[in-house]
Symmetry: C2
Subunit: 196 residues, 2 copies
């Protein structure tokens, strides 16, 4: 096999969920049937690595200093919703039940994987939640074991600073991941959120 093709197959294996067989199939497919797609993906990767970083306020991916959501004047700045990923934030936005701001952890506490408080930017969250404007932090981490532990940890941390903390109601199925739950269920859980 040609060197460039081997290099490409190796690189495709860096994608999550892609094993040796799929990497090879992807490489052959791109070179045989979709060279324009390959070139486009090359440019997209280069551009994303170059331009995308974390919002100074909410920690999500953005190309500007502060993301569009954080600078939106229509938002209720007294509410701060904590989610694990940008995908979770998008799910909550789709429910149209929440008009506050967000903080995106970009992960969850997972001691077994070596993911501690620093890895999910809890210092940044603490500073953000302590701005004097935020009056309630809504915890919307997943209802998995790790998500629940993360919510518990954050809740204790913020309550120790005198902040009011709530958690999405358990309308979300136990063990469920927000990204895969229907908007109606998330909407109910948002309305039923409880103080912790």
């Amino acid at each position: 096999m040609s060197k460039s093709l081997e290099f490409l197959t190796e690189a495709l294996r860096r994608l999550p969920g892609v094993g040796p067989k799929s990497a090879q199939r992807m490489a052959f497919h791109l070179l045989q049937h979709d060279r324009e797609g390959a070139a486009q993906l090359s440019r997209a990767l280069y551009q994303a690595v170059d331009a995308v970083h974390h919002c100074a306020l909410c920690n999500t991916f953005t190309e500007t200093e502060t993301c569009d959501t954080c600078i939106d004047e229509e938002r209720d700045r007294r509410l701060l919703c904590v989610v694990e990923t940008p995908a979770d934030q998008m799910m909550i936005e789709q429910t149209l039940t929440y008009k506050g701001l967000y903080f995106v952890l970009m992960g969850r506490l997972s001691p077994l994987d070596g993911i501690g408080p620093k890895d999910i930017h809890l210092e940044k969250l603490l500073a953000r939640a302590s701005d004097g404007v935020v009056s309630e932090v809504v915890l919307a981490t997943n209802f998995t074991n790790e998500g629940e532990a993360t919510a518990h940890y954050i809740s204790e941390m913020l309550k120790a600073r005198g902040l009011q903390v709530s958690r999405l109601a358990r309308g979300v199925p136990v063990g469920g991941e927000l990204e895969y739950v229907d908007a109606g269920t998330i909407a109910r859980a948002m309305l039923d959120r409880r103080s912790t």
Copy 2:
């Protein structure tokens, strides 16, 4: 979501077997946990699109005019084995039962998908097989319906030019794809190949 991130998610969907959810997960993973991997994949794609083309003789992917296999002096130039993909060729190489040369169709006849004789380079195969040195063409397309139809079509085409044509013995399970068959089975099928 940021423009670069949307562009990246769209581009990842060009990969075979990648839907919207996996594309998003891949994009987040690369930006959050593996920016070096993303940059490497970007370079690999660029390089492959730039450098990889088809071997002048056997039609496989190569970075040189003629691939390493085709210029290998140790090979028996009287035998030409026709396969659908480079992956199939690699499987046959692993059996160590074949020392001839190859022709890689880069596909198979599939009228329903609009893939006809031109799309699998049958004119190039005909020219290659008619070089006056090749004395037997071994058909090693898959034993699927489309692979069998492809073998039949090629067999008729080459026999009309007076070439001797054989087919891998049906040691390969019917309906099976070479890429997923163990080397021992392919080895038996190679030894038992029959005239068609």
